[in-house]
Symmetry: C2
Subunit: 220 residues, 2 copies
């Protein structure tokens, strides 16, 4: 059996591979919506299999490490964080697939005003995803905390988009199908932000051993 | 320190307490929508704190058990399953809160036809939740498998509701706000079903040590 430190490094590198796949899926799915790019949307659907596969590999490796190595303290926290982050990443991949499906459904529709807010929310959510993953790699508690403080901004943008999309539907029933798809895109982006927040909380648990869930630590 | 078996029993009983709270939150939130019952919706919002608190208690207890007892084989699988199921239960509680918020928003609106499908979906989802929790308590792999086979039925009902709600909006723009709330209720129910499916998969992992995620095992 390889040395424990090597096994941990292997686990970390698999998680980074997964996170790169997930970031790319999110980026492509959003671009597919905004630029009406069918090929990008289909890429996201095709790559889901790889994300699902790597999720299982990571989970198996983490459980084996717990079973065979009986790690203590900081290594134990690292492995448990990996199990949780792995779960969040896989769900973010599913949400990117949902967005890609909406992109395909929106292909035939004209580009409309309510789209304007989606790139804005998407940019904020992508920055949260990048920061939470960087905070994990560098064990950077300050960066993780900055992700928590973005979550409220996403909620506000979500609410504004919802109102805008409802007015858009009320103005013309012909807009309804498109608006329902766009509502779904916004909701999926919001859920990706929720998972980024979960990961940031896990990073704080990992770096400081404190539990910041449910606002146990004041958000900036 | 208490005996390991006692600690495991304590962990299991906390998870059962959490699952009872979550089942009750789901039941109340749906009843609040269907019967326009404001008091029930407010109950759900008030009880979220307790679910969040017990989630942290379970996570802490599970991590301590892993750290201090270094359990092997079936106990290790039980503790890891508990960490995952705990996470799913807490999110199901959040989804019940979302539904309760939609119930409050819908209070002033007249009862309309598209409501007819929501009790139907809700009944199916509640039965999945009950079965996945029972399958965990009794380590009943067959019951867990029956939850997996219900997931497609929920997706079909969801699609039918979406089409019905979109037609409802197209018939009259005055219906749009209400229909958007009802779309949200349906989507939250679907997500609760997804978490019930996750729990059923964890029960299969626990009972047989096989991984059925991502359809590795054929669904009935």
């Amino acid at each position: 059996m390889r040395h424990f430190v090597e096994e941990l490094e292997q686990l970390k590198s698999k998680l980074l591979e997964e996170s790169a796949l997930v970031e790319s899926a999110i980026y492509r799915s959003i671009t597919a919506v905004v630029q009406k790019d069918e090929a990008l949307a289909r890429d996201v659907l095709a790559n889901e299999v790889r994300i699902n596969q790597i999720e299982i590999e990571i989970d198996d490796a983490a459980v084996s490490l717990l079973a065979l190595q009986q790690p203590m303290a900081v290594d134990l926290r690292f492995i448990i964080s990996t199990i949780k982050i792995n779960n969040d990443l896989e769900r973010m991949g599913d949400l990117a697939v949902n967005i890609a499906e909406r992109a395909l459904s929106l292909l035939g529709e004209p580009v409309v005003k309510p789209m304007v807010d989606i790139p804005h929310i998407a940019a904020l959510v992508q920055s949260m995803v990048r920061k939470c993953l960087d905070s994990f790699v560098n064990r950077d508690a300050d960066l993780a905390r900055s992700v928590l403080s973005s979550d409220n901004a996403v909620d506000e943008l979500r609410n504004a988009s919802f109102h805008e999309l409802i007015s858009f539907m009320e103005r013309s029933p012909g807009n309804i199908r498109q608006a329902v798809d766009l509502l779904s895109v916004v909701r999926n982006l919001e859920r990706i932000a929720d998972h980024a927040t979960n990961i940031a909380e896990d990073v704080l648990f990992l770096t400081k051993g404190i539990d910041v869930r449910h606002h146990a630590e004041p958000r900036v």
